[in-house]
Symmetry: C2
Subunit: 659 residues, 2 copies
Amino acid sequence: MKKIFFLLAIIVSTTKAQDLLPQPKSINTSKGAFTISKNTLIRLSLSSPELNKYVQRFVQRFQNRSGVFLNTTQLQDTLSAHEILIQTETFVDTIKLGSDESYKLEVNQNKIIITANNNIGAYRGLETLLQLIQRTGKTAYVKSCMISDSPRFPWRGLLIDVCRHWIPTHVIKRNIDAMAAVKMNVLHMHLTEDQGFRIESKKFPKLHELGSNGNYFTQEEMKGIVKYAKERGIRVIPEFDIPGHTTSWLVGYPELSSANADYQIEKNYGIFNPSLNPAKESTYSFLDEFLGEMALIFPDEYIHIGGDENKGIDWDNNKKIQKFKDKNSYTSNSELQAYFNTRVLDILTKHGKKMIGWDEVFEESLPLSVAIQSWRGKESLYSFAKKGYAGLLSNGYYLDMANDLKVYYENNPLPLNADLTQTEKELIYGGEATMWSELVNEKTIDSRIWPATLAVAERLWSSNENCNTNAFYNKVGAISNQLEEHGLIHLTNQTILLKQLSNQSDVNKFQPFVQLLEPLKGYERHRFLKYTTHYPLNRLVDACYTESFRANDFETLVSQNCKTGICKNRDEIKTTLATWIKAAEQFVKVGNQSQGLMEAKLLALKVQELCELAWRSVNSPSELKELDKDRAQVLMLEIENFKLDVKFAPIQTMKRLFN
Amino acid sequence: MKKIFFLLAIIVSTTKAQDLLPQPKSINTSKGAFTISKNTLIRLSLSSPELNKYVQRFVQRFQNRSGVFLNTTQLQDTLSAHEILIQTETFVDTIKLGSDESYKLEVNQNKIIITANNNIGAYRGLETLLQLIQRTGKTAYVKSCMISDSPRFPWRGLLIDVCRHWIPTHVIKRNIDAMAAVKMNVLHMHLTEDQGFRIESKKFPKLHELGSNGNYFTQEEMKGIVKYAKERGIRVIPEFDIPGHTTSWLVGYPELSSANADYQIEKNYGIFNPSLNPAKESTYSFLDEFLGEMALIFPDEYIHIGGDENKGIDWDNNKKIQKFKDKNSYTSNSELQAYFNTRVLDILTKHGKKMIGWDEVFEESLPLSVAIQSWRGKESLYSFAKKGYAGLLSNGYYLDMANDLKVYYENNPLPLNADLTQTEKELIYGGEATMWSELVNEKTIDSRIWPATLAVAERLWSSNENCNTNAFYNKVGAISNQLEEHGLIHLTNQTILLKQLSNQSDVNKFQPFVQLLEPLKGYERHRFLKYTTHYPLNRLVDACYTESFRANDFETLVSQNCKTGICKNRDEIKTTLATWIKAAEQFVKVGNQSQGLMEAKLLALKVQELCELAWRSVNSPSELKELDKDRAQVLMLEIENFKLDVKFAPIQTMKRLFN
């Protein structure tokens, strides 16, 4: 019954006034509207190449959204009668932690004015304006209003793991566009892992040459990504995960390792033993050179050094490392890792950078300048804040868990009851959604990041009072659709994958059934099947959206209309069930077309039968025989326990129809 | 009635044996089949990093196509009972004009063997194998056969103009994948134009810095494209169009120009006056340095120098150039351009390259080593061949004309009646489809290149006897669908664009109407509307496929079943018409959602009414009153003359229903 409380509207064809995501700080509407016409002009008070480029892109999207072709897309510098004016005071070249992102947006009949301290605030305001465009009948317009907006948290990030599966530049860039569209401001790139070393090093070329199977960002490409992000007001934080998670480093440079082994790029998933050797001085000179090289590519003040999940087994088995521990009176591996961290911190400081790492980087002597990103959770995060460390929340934002959006949305880094002082609260910089890529490739990653990350985007930008789960669900479908303009394939890849799986059958016929399926949540999918980096990600589960909005819609419909098995608005419920029956039937027909579909064929048969019973029950509950009711119970049990990596999402709602 | 002769099958869900594109030289089938199972193994007789990579990609696609997940995707080096063996003698690092691309493919119950002289032949054979995979019911298999194959022409190219609209690297790469899938072997990149200079020059950085609006390939990116193509057996030919078409060069280096002007990147389309100055020695030293730099990026022996459409107006207006002409006794601008060409040829020769250019590079003193690409046509091409020049045909392969596939397909560079000797025939190297980009951007270009280029791919690979228009139309839909696996959006972008145009309406409802529309053919679209590089390409016409396969299907249906207005199989025809009526009706409903749709709303209304009349006529011709028949004639006239940049494709077939 997890979805019972959402009031979900079936996606409507016109955008409503409240479809702003993230919700702005304050919005006051008034009568009247700015009508968008061919003659609408766009003016800048302060021109800069970067802002001009943003506005030029805005103009194309403005035409797309409004459906109006402008007579001129040339930016103006003098006043016009009917104009959009972008007013900024200063130009900020590169966004930093804490840069002013606030803006004001005023709409009246003749003018739209975006006022911001700098270009970054203007970017945020332009995105709000795009979401405000409404179309009905023959006109496009923006309703008169006054918006005043600024972010709740200064660090609103998305981590993309480009190591477990390679994610190429153009996929990163379209995701940057989507981030900017919902005002996120940090792209955290997880660049090195056991399964791959994904950035070119000119100083140590064997890192990418031997550690990547040829899939890595050249420095030029990475600079291009950084520039692309900067032009959209987004910081790029690189992560070089050390001392564990380093198998791919050791393929080319085994002298850095803690064990005397022959290293291969890891193909399996999990936690592995390979670790840098903290007892050798040469490890630090290597890191000094390498991080110095990287520091020049990434302008942000922070570099992420990972630091997580180093089990220390290779340390325990290395006599020299043990001797080093003894000599320095370190009684545990975490003390040894603390020493390692201190040395790395010195290196970063020397290169003008601040350090950030996962929970494990913490130990008592850690300087307060280090920030901590918590995968462990709020308890851990708050304990650091109480000690004076700044931090980010990532626990609860793990996109690879394929959770319902609600789970991400309701994960509030600072709920009202957080037991922290005001000063401590200010150390909670925000959070990051994390897209670990064991189970996504360049084709499917969009559909795991979006729309899920929309939940995180709003949670981190909007105030507690402005976050509301129902309101969020009411608008998320429309905003998710809008993201397609950036070339994201989070929606269309389903069709493409299903076409392939079904041998180019007519996907429309059975897609409504697939849209009722959800991937196994959490890490259950790894338990269902042993994945490696080589296993193809073109199973039925890869074609499913992480959350079935159709199942949600049905839940709403049933909860509004049915009580103890008796329903009002029976026709609507019956129509939905009839669609499902037909789609499941069609799925059965294509079910032999591939191994990937065949596994779900029996499930589709059961769903079809259950929906038929449900249809009859809604139609006339009294006519359903005991035998039918028993059969429904058996089917529901079988469907719930069906052994597969996808689940039939509306199962709980179905149960209610037979109560 | 242009489409009356095609026997078009509605795209069927199972691939048939004959769905090979391009059609191989010879194919003998026998009883039995190789059944694809989890245990199928893949073995290489001769391993090389590049062939191994190709085969690794093949394995992923093999799993996609067959729907079977293999137990292991590791390549084998020892014999197995049930295997695919790839047998090559030698390794060719970089494909050249005339490289051996032949292969043999033998399929029996236990083995599939691809035998080729080299890795490039193996690539071609692997693509054929992928097309041979069949799926029915629970199994995937390849029917026993023996194929022997080699290309008809050694030069089978696609030109992509990245200048009029910028086309980024990832779009180029997915098109390279699609080219390889249908055995094309030359990517011709049109890199410089009045509207943009699209490659980085380290020697003359103002070329790309001032000539590109920031959209250009860095040298590293271009090397990446060249490598990507080479790994798929595809040559990359760069074109630097000189002396005309050079406005973008002159923005940064006005000293190269023939006029004393202030140059801006051109925003309009057409033929412009700016031209390099052929009378200044410094022009040649510039070109020497520049082309020398470029020669190192492109390993192919040919460099394309354009040479087309130089009107010479700026030459006529320049007194020094006139003086230079007089001094050298040149009586025409073409003689002057011949001198220019000779100088450029010397430069290319010095850098180890051969020259190729458009028809205009020819004049009597041109050395026979220069190849000529003909936009003018076969007459021109043959006249060059008779003089001893090698050449390519591009006339008739202009993709920007949005012609029906038949037009491209039936454009045979060497028809049986070609009046050339055998030696002259051998000088016709092949041809190139040309994708000029005035009316395509990075989102729509796929849909203009594909499926149209499939016609060119088969025409240039397969022998005269193996080319058959009906057979081509029967398979092109299935092959076009398969191309989606490379990330092409030639099919899905229609949905995305229509969603945007219709304000996120349910596109399925009205898409069948849009799929009956075709863009204006030839260059009519430019006459309908004045485009510049800034005009948004998100009109209804941009969402249309270039040829309506649905209209073709209907034509087949009607021509097979109807005579003088009386039809057999009435239900099938009526069902089709009913679908169109409904879709047109739905289109009218969303027609107000944007300017782009609104223009076609009235057309949809007329189509709806006409289809209703046609439905009634097919249902019972005698019951249609004279008034109705008159109305149908009026509607057909109005639809045919409807002033818009799209046309209702089935109009000729409709006429036959009322005869």
